[in-house]
């Protein structure tokens, strides 16, 4: 992580206060200073992320950036582990810092249920509650409701659902979602959107897109802490380029601190997926971050980064770890497989994480799916892998080695040259030459 340099426009950052470094057994003492934006005048930057610097490195649409958030200065492209209920499953905060985690995602729906937004607020916000010194992002709660609850229904007012605690009918409005997120206190908060599955067709998608635009105004109006929390809008519109375009333009008009590309990562085919991302990144402003929600697989992250996206989140690395699957440059390693029982190599010989330095596949084979420690160790490795991927993407762009990095990545995943067609198409649009990775087409 590069040392903190002087902010580009010091006038709107009135001071940095140094937080105590996290008291952990392996605290290096030095390391990142946490910058705290103090007393920023609301009129100056109602919706801005202060000090968004996107000129660190570029390759066509791909870009490396520095994102200054109230609790941490982040480097993009970056992956955000999902800490659903105020914790990343199986890892302590100091371990997350060690592997280079910059932002964690918290789920508003789960946290509002337990321990409740009021309690988090009373105890000083989620950062203090979790004792996480770096950045936090909360989603709006809408997606969980729609995906987790049987009787969720979306109206113009908001999302009506049955409370999982006592079965009472409840309503989550844009106002309430923002109110809850204000209490939780994350650096980035998400607007409540009307999200539909991409596998659905018909007028529902258009209805959802327009409603999302109407709701963003309600979210903006309800947002009580624009100086401390950055509200991102979520672009909807399904797989329809016309709808997506309308939505993007609507959001850009509102001049938000950042924009998410939502409604993807839900089972649509990859060819449609990349085209939507490409369209959105082309239309969204250059100087604001782009967050593709729910992505995902390392390959998807590399492609989206080539197309100009900056931020990602997904439960995949930690979830797959609990099933005994480790992420490696070649793809995945299924540690439960009998072939691993006598394999004396580490998960990944190129990885320098605590797990790969200490344990063999054979030993991990015994632990996974049977012992809690197995979950912990593979989760640790998988998140290390994602952090390393983030850092490699950023560094390769800064050092002007992006195409080489992408080529190396693809060659490791597809040694036979069988790069999927959608990747080839996407890279063509991104202007990244991957011909050396693809086997000649036999016609």
């Amino acid at each position: 992580m590069e040392p903190l340099s002087r902010p580009r426009t010091p006038s709107f950052i009135l001071g940095f206060s140094r937080r105590e470094s996290f008291r952990s057994p392996t605290a290096k003492g030095e390391g990142e200073r946490v910058g705290v934006v103090q007393g920023v005048r609301a009129s100056y930057f109602l919706f801005d992320i202060k000090g968004c610097d996107f000129t660190l490195g570029k390759f066509n649409r791909a870009r490396a950036a520095r994102l200054t958030l109230p609790h941490f200065i982040c480097q993009t492209p970056l992956f955000m582990p999902v800490g659903t209920q105020g914790t990343i499953k199986g890892l302590t905060n100091n371990q997350l810092e060690e592997i280079g985690c910059q932002i964690i995602l918290g789920n508003t729906y789960h946290l509002a249920l337990r321990p409740s937004a009021e309690l988090i607020d009373d105890l000083g916000g989620l950062h203090k509650f979790m004792n996480w010194k770096r950045a936090l992002l909360t989603d709006s709660g809408g997606f969980q409701m729609v995906s987790l609850l049987h009787l969720a229904d979306i109206t113009e007012q908001g999302v009506t659902f049955q409370s999982p605690v006592d079965g009472k009918p409840m309503l989550l409005t844009p106002e309430e979602s923002i109110q809850i997120q204000n209490k939780i206190g994350a650096d980035i908060i998400m607007a409540l959107d009307d999200v539909v599955k991409t596998t659905i067709t018909g007028p529902r998608i258009e209805e959802a897109m327009y409603r999302t635009l109407r709701w963003i105004d309600r979210c903006i109006a309800a947002h009580k802490r624009p100086d401390a929390q950055n509200l991102f809008g979520i672009v909807q519109g399904g797989l329809d380029p016309v709808l997506r375009d309308i939505c993007v333009r609507g959001f850009v008009d509102r001049n938000l601190p950042g924009y998410a590309i939502g409604g993807l990562a839900g089972g649509e085919d990859k060819d449609s997926f990349w085209r939507v991302v490409a369209q959105c990144t082309a239309a969204l402003p250059e100087d604001k971050p782009r967050y593709v929600m729910g992505v995902g697989y390392p390959l998807d992250i590399v492609v989206c980064s080539a197309l100009g996206a900056d931020m990602y989140d997904c439960v995949y690395p930690t979830r797959t770890a609990r099933f005994g699957t480790a992420l490696v440059p070649e793809g995945v390693l299924r540690l439960k497989n009998q072939a691993m029982a006598n394999d004396e190599r580490p998960i990944d010989s190129t990885c320098t994480c605590m797990v790969c330095r200490n344990y063999t596949r054979a030993y991990l084979h015994c632990l996974v799916t049977k012992d809690a420690m197995g979950s912990q160790l593979v989760s640790y490795h998988n998140l290390s892998y994602m952090m390393r991927l983030s850092k490699d993407l950023h560094t390769s762009l800064v050092e002007g080695q992006f195409p080489e990095f992408v080529q190396g990545f693809l060659r490791a995943q597809f040694p036979k040259g069988d790069v999927p067609e959608w990747v080839c198409n996407a890279m063509e649009v991104a202007g990244v030459d991957i011909s050396t990775c693809c086997a000649p087409i036999t016609s």
Partner: protein, 402 residues
């Protein structure tokens, strides 16, 4: 491996002794006894990963209990040997492993299945019969620092005949293990059994003491014997073992039981107490620096009925932003609050158990350290008496209030 008694209480202090275990060669600092062996599953603590393990107080936290029963199926002995044994396989080069053929959590000895060929255990993989030769082979691949020979452990309610058989069998297996041991007993702990029969215990102890082993593992406890009669059984064993060899016992988990064992002259304990507390959502809070205060007037904390531990699932902790124990230097207390752990427990997150196991281990190690200080200061009896009294005070005052 070398063991030396550094302070014997003698006289009124009974058989309690402080010692030094030189287990890692002459240049490493000795482990002071009485000491706790941290429980492991397949060689690693249940929830505490190696980086957090390294942050626990040393050298106290360097002793780990390991059970070869965890490695019955995988990895194979060959693979373990190729990797280089426990220390290499677990990446724990600074730690010391003491192996005993008993896993008090999951693989309890199954005395009805045990026969002349081997010992039977109820494991998560079903009932398994372990022969001495297979056991020694596994030990040879694991290469623990110390290991106990195989035992026929029987619960307290078996017949005298069965008990006598267990002693004979255990002695036979000890000799078999000794014969198979390439190191000739230098890292071996001879097992003493005998159930709840004073004569058998004495006989077994005398016999094992004649073998060329480096220390002793006292088995057969924690399997249903009467707590009151336990002291007499322990005493007859330790009275017949040489002073200058280390004694390790399994099955004495609670602080009162440990105190009982220390009073009888035991040096090493493995304990399931931390594990059960952790899984239950409990955190240890009992004070153990009880010799520092002169007054025995313990103020009862309003919110806590039991001064030993707190149940962090309870709603009273929802907004408690204090650490589990004020001034505790463990990772958990330095970084997290009772409120946060309460939340983690309520949402069934693994982090709750990680944080609790770190704290509980740290706290229990502190208890052992306080015990050692008391022995070295010649005040072990006073320590034990005060400790037991303080644990019972909440009961007596509850009675007085009603």
């Amino acid at each position: 491996m070398r063991f030396a008694v550094t302070r014997a209480c003698g006289g009124g202090g009974g058989r309690a002794r402080a010692g030094a275990l030189y287990i890692g060669g002459s240049t490493t600092a000795p482990i002071e006894t009485p000491s706790l062996l941290i429980l492991t599953r397949k060689g690693l603590p249940t929830f505490v990963s190696c980086d957090h393990l390294a942050a626990l107080p040393t050298p106290d936290s360097l002793l780990l209990h390991v059970s070869p029963l965890h490695f019955l199926d995988c990895p194979s002995s060959k693979t373990i040997s190729n990797i280089g044994g426990l220390h290499q396989m677990l990446g724990l080069h600074e730690h010391f492993f003491v192996a005993a053929p008993r896993d008090s959590l999951e693989s309890l000895p199954e005395s009805e299945g045990t026969n002349k060929l081997g010992a039977s255990f109820e494991t998560p993989c079903g009932r398994r019969l372990i022969k001495p030769s297979a056991y020694v082979e596994k030990i040879a691949s694991l290469k623990p620092n110390l290991w106990a020979s195989m035992a026929d452990e029987v619960p307290a309610w078996v017949s005298d005949k069965r008990n006598k058989t267990s002693v004979d069998r255990t002695l036979r297996w000890l000799d078999e293990c000794l014969a198979l041991d390439p190191a000739g007993g230098k890292t071996m702990l001879g097992v003493v059994v005998g159930g709840s029969n004073i004569e058998e215990r004495k006989h077994c102890a005398i016999e094992v003491a004649t073998r060329n082993v480096s220390g002793f593992w006292i088995g057969g406890f924690g399997l249903g014997e009467n707590v009151e009669e336990r002291s007499a059984l322990l005493n007859v064993v330790t009275d017949n073992l040489p002073e200058e060899k280390v004694r390790f016992i399994s099955g004495l988990s609670l602080p009162e039981e440990v105190l009982q064992g220390v009073a009888s002259g035991i040096d090493l304990f493995d304990s399931t107490y931390i594990y059960h507390l952790t899984l239950g959502g409990f955190a240890l809070i009992f004070p153990f620096k009880i010799l520092d205060h002169n007054n025995l007037d313990f103020q009862l904390d309003d919110t806590v009925g039991d001064r030993t531990k707190i149940n962090l699932r309870a709603t009273i902790y929802r907004k408690d932003i204090s650490p589990i124990v004020a001034n505790c230097s463990c990772f958990t207390c330095q970084n997290h609050t009772r409120a946060y752990i309460n939340h983690l427990l309520n949402v069934h997150e693994m982090l709750a158990h990680i944080l609790l196991e770190i704290h509980n281990t740290h706290h229990y190690l502190g208890f052992f350290r306080a015990m050692r200080e008391a022995i070295k200061g010649g005040k072990f009896d006073l320590f034990r008496q005060r400790f037991v009294e303080s644990r019972r005070i909440h009961l007596t005052s509850a009675v007085l209030c009603s």
